[in-house]
Amino acid sequence: MSKNTKINILLLLVVAALAVLPLALGLGDHKEEPFTGADGEAETAITEIEPDYEPWFSPLYEPPSGEIESALFSLQAALGAGVLAYYFGLHRGRRQGEQRAREQEAERVPGGTAGEPPADED
């Protein structure tokens, strides 16, 4: 594994650790409902400050259940991840194709750049 890949994996592990630690250390235990959304907590804080406040507009469409909502959230993440994967896959393929083309070129022209290290890896 190259040093580069190791650093990338390390970055992912740190992110995972940052997400898991609050759960593992039980940092939500002091709450009635641990790990609710901060957005929801803000709504509660608003009604604490102004008990009479009534939201004057309601969402045009509301997911009928928590399951549907999480499905739509997953859809959002999946769409984004799909586009990112397409981008990086496409560029990796292009790079490999270009490298192959260069190698074939070098084989065809004896005394060409075959012996030299690849100057540019992209």
């Binding site: 609050p22 609710t36 804080a45 939201p55 890896e121």
Partner: protein, 233 residues
């Protein structure tokens, strides 16, 4: 940072909408110009938007015992400058307001202002400043993304404190209250966002050197060579 539908008084909702509109219009112009002049950047634009899509769907637990999500706007701001993110961020917020009842149409202006305008600009400013003092690229990217994320939540806290000042302690009291909910929760998530943005930037340096050089993220010629090689090894 999503202020829920109907949770800002009408006057505030309209004011934030008016404040955000010119940024979004300007952003749409920048975006169309970018696509027209550099059609090859369309894919990377899509990837920047996609990054925001993924990150703002990831609700992560935090040290305060509540959950929040990163914004993903730092990457696109660093790559394409902040006006483009005003558009990409607005698209993400619209998707969530319309399909997920997360955020809302009446609070769209306020949410756009925090996530798609102030966040990208603050992150970009920090990134540019660090780069001017020759801070290494990845360090500048980390702090750019970190600040873009955290400043978004600070703005949300200010917006809510302006709309709902505490009856006894006033604006500052309310700011402390909302800040404790949003900003403190957000600190570890902003670190995560910084690290993920560095990860994506590292992959981009490997895969799209030419594109990054054109966008000015990598410097042309010698300097970029040593920089990219340091990453490629």
């Amino acid at each position: 940072m999503h202020i829920a539908e109907g949770f800002l008084p009408p006057a505030h909702a309209v004011a934030w909408g008016i404040a955000s509109a010119p940024f979004v219009v300007h952003g749409v112009r920048s975006l169309t110009r970018e696509v027209r002049e550099h059609p090859e950047s369309t894919l990377l634009l899509g990837a920047s938007g996609a990054f925001t899509f993924v990150l703002s769907a990831l609700k992560l637990p935090s040290v305060t015992g509540s959950c929040s999500h990163p914004t993903g706007t730092g990457l696109g701001a660093i790559l394409f400058r902040p006006p483009i993110m005003a558009v990409l961020g607005t698209i993400t917020l619209l998707f969530q307001a319309l399909l997920l009842a997360h955020g809302g149409l009446t609070t769209l202006g306020a949410n756009v202002f925090s996530m798609a305008i102030v966040g990208p600009w603050a992150g970009y400013a920090v990134y540019k400043l660090l780069r001017r003092y020759d801070v290494p690229l990845m360090v500048a990217v980390f702090f750019g993304a970190f600040v873009a994320d955290l400043s978004t939540y600070c703005v949300t806290s200010v917006q809510l404190a302006l709309a709902f000042p505490d009856p006894s302690s006033g604006f500052l009291g309310a700011l402390g209250k909302f800040g404790a909910i949003f900003a403190v929760t957000q600190i570890p998530l902003a670190v995560s966002e910084g690290l993920l943005t560095v990860l994506v930037m590292r992959l981009l340096v490997q895969s799209s050197k030419g594109e990054l050089t054109r966008l000015g993220v990598l410097l042309a010629k010698k300097q970029s060579r040593s920089e990219t090689e340091a990453v490629a090894r």
